[in-house]
């Protein structure tokens, strides 16, 4: 499998040239990072070039890197000059039988915008709606960028690292008003197991 990945890596370098920001081969998977400006052009090449032929987009998801590698208080720790939001897609080529991970960072952390891939792979439509709903990443050129998983009238983007696990509002039936009402949450998030990052080889006793 690794010979095949090297072949793919070589074809990517030949075809895309300077548009590659980085290309990594780790754990038997290839990750390609491109700049937001080249995103949709690169996607079209990935789909159409005979040496690549990624006919299918298997998955696209948003990622918020705000708390990466950090423990304890998460909010506000993200350096402003580092890109925070990324869209990660997993591509699959049926004719060549290989996969590729494509990552693109949005340049603006306050209002992340990326090109929409819907013209390249139609199936990405709902994945982009999901990434918009959960992370607030805008996809320019998407024809139907509505919320998809959260409630009608939901405020905020729940999968961002600064959004609390308990949310902000809760819903209950009010017997006096005889309708369902929203009110501020009455629970507090509780962390049972704290998040810990240990140094390498922590607890190694020689016999593992």
């Amino acid at each position: 499998m690794s010979a095949k990945l090297e072949q793919l890596s070589q074809s990517l370098q030949d075809v895309l040239g300077e548009r590659i920001v980085s290309i990594t081969n780790a754990l038997g998977e290839l990750t390609l990072v491109v700049a937001a400006a080249d995103y949709s052009a690169v996607a079209t090449i990935l789909r159409d070039h005979p040496d690549l032929r990624f006919e299918q987009l298997i998955d696209l998801c948003g990622v918020d890197y705000a708390a990466y590698g950090q423990v304890g208080a998460m909010l506000g720790a993200h350096p402003a000059d580092q890109p925070r939001f990324a869209a990660v897609s997993h591509l699959l080529s049926i004719s060549h039988n290989w996969r590729l991970r494509l990552r693109v960072f949005a340049t603006d952390n306050d209002f992340p915008v990326l090109d929409s891939l819907t013209p390249v792979w139609n199936g990405v439509n709902w994945f982009e709606r999901e990434a918009f709903d959960l992370f607030g990443i805008m996809f320019a050129g998407h024809t139907d960028l509505r919320r998809i998983l959260t409630d009608y009238g939901f405020v905020g983007h729940p999968f961002r690292k600064d959004f609390p696990i308990s949310g902000y509002v809760e819903m209950r039936y009010d017997a006096e008003q005889k309708r369902v009402i929203y009110q501020p949450v009455s629970i507090e998030p509780r962390e049972v197991t704290p998040r810990i990052i240990r140094e390498e080889n922590y607890g190694a006793t020689g016999r593992g």
Binding site: A26, L27, G28, E29, T31, E55, Q56, L57, I58, D59, C61, V63, D64, A67, Y68, G69, V71, V88, H90, I94, N97, R99, R101, W121, N122, G123, V124, N125, W126, F127, R147, I148, L149, T150, D151, P158, F159, I165, E191, T193, R195, I196, I197, R198, Y202, G203, T205, G208
Partner: protein
């Protein structure tokens, strides 16, 4: 003269044919669907966000609850992804057990899918038969995992425990007399593997029964043939996988093309459709059940002959045995650290995809070296399939929308996550 306009129909979220909580806003021209707009998210539980707050091991039971018609197979890509990040080898016996239960789950899923699809289009009988066989399968799961549905059986590094040597039996009570109990216990007199083997011998006969009920049934064909046709090109564009892709004539199955676990040692065939309509997808699912049964037979034969460990011996990942833990200080520390702090997974990212009963089910994990995932993304096949609802149902009658929902084999735990 007043102009006749399209009207909008709200289908679900509490409609029995909606397979859960699908709200479908249909724009109709007479009886013809002009536009279908599925509203999903009514069962959204933010599993991915919850996983970020839990240790790696604590998330396993959440995976069961995604696609609650094929439980154990859901855990598979998750534990596989963790194993790849950790770089550990799973014992061969555990791999066979996983494949065995993947295929049992596949049959379970297809039984439910075909049964309820038939129920949706008006064939009441099917679901009664398929649920009868489903009962045997949940019994197998109960004997192995302790739970009829949500097993939490696959663990990073292997499976929780070995297969039981004895199948649980019925006992006489005020509802079942000795004669009934004896008949019920006939297949259960031996071990779990005996029971599974007995089932796999009976199962092709059941498949023949289903086919006599449906395959040449005139009403069934009238409702399914040429409904919801998806061409090869469109299926690829829309990101279809699994039976939905194979129904359109693309020969693609991860078990063959990118084999994981022990699928490369097993002998089975991949059914492929021709026309890409609902009927072809039904035939593909039917044949997949027979092929899954073949795999089960091979796994049972192998598991009988090859005893061995079912989980790795690395106590940073898998707990030590109860006995050792009670008698050895070091093992006690391992046990304590594993269940309080959890596994530490090296930083990195990995995507593990498997051939789920519904299509490709993938788990994308990003780890930053902590005892919890940094980000988990679940790629469910039904989500992508449902996104093609508008395209597939356009121009069809409103009654066909139900057939198309049935053929997509959607489960809302999976779509909404």
């Amino acid at each position: 003269m007043a102009e006749i306009q399209n009207y909008t129909l709200n289908f679900g979220p509490q409609h029995p044919a909606a397979h859960g909580v699908l709200r479908l806003v249909l724009e109709l021209d007479g009886e013809m669907v002009v536009r279908a707009d599925p509203h999903i998210g009514l069962l959204h539980r933010a599993t991915e966000k919850l996983a970020e707050q839990k240790t790696w091991l604590q998330s396993v039971p959440y995976l069961d609850r995604l696609d609650y018609t094929s439980m154990l197979i859901n855990e598979h890509p998750y534990v596989m992804a963790i194993e790849r990040l950790l770089g550990i080898e799973v014992p061969l016996r555990a791999q066979y057990i996983r494949v065995l239960f993947d295929e049992i789950t596949r049959i379970h899923n297809h039984l439910l899918s075909i049964g309820t699809q038939a129920l949706d289009v008006g064939a009441m009988t099917m679901v009664l038969y398929t649920f009868r066989e489903r009962e045997d399968i949940v019994d197998m799961m109960e004997a192995t995992t302790g739970a009829r549905m949500h097993g939490a059986y696959y663990r990073p590094g292997g499976v929780y425990r070995d297969l039981p040597g004895q199948m649980p039996r019925y006992e006489v009570n005020k509802f079942k007399n000795a004669k009934t109990v004896k008949a019920l216990n006939e297949a259960r007199s031996g071990s779990l593997l005996d029971f599974i083997e007995d089932f796999s011998n009976r199962f092709p006969g059941y498949c023949d029964d289903y086919e006599t009920l449906l395959t040449d049934n005139r009403i069934w064909k009238q409702r399914l043939v040429d409904i919801g046709i998806v061409s090869k090109e469109r299926a690829l564009q829309r990101g279809f996988t699994g039976p939905m892709l194979r129904g359109s004539g693309v020969e693609w199955d991860l078990r063959k093309k990118q084999p994981y676990e022990v699928y490369d040692r097993l002998d089975f065939d991949i059914p492929v459709g021709v026309n890409g309509d609902c009927y072809d997808r039904y035939l593909v699912r039917m044949e997949e059940m027979r092929q899954a049964n073949r795999i089960i037979k091979q796994c049972v034969a192998w598991l009988r002959d090859n005893p061995g460990p079912v989980i790795v011996d690395n106590h940073k990942v898998a707990p030590p045995s109860r006995e050792k833990m009670k008698g050895n200080m070091e093992e006690l520390i391992h046990h304590f650290k594993l269940f309080t702090e959890g596994i530490h997974v090296p930083s990195g990212e990995v995507y593990a995809g498997i051939e789920h009963a519904k299509g490709e089910f993938g788990v994308y994990l990003i780890s930053d070296g902590a005892n919890k995932p940094y980000r988990m993304k679940l790629r469910s096949a039904a989500f992508t399939h449902l996104s093609a609802m508008d395209e597939m149902s356009k121009g069809h009658m409103i009654a066909d929308a139900v057939t198309i929902i049935g053929t997509m084999d959607i489960v809302f735990g999976d779509v909404d996550r």
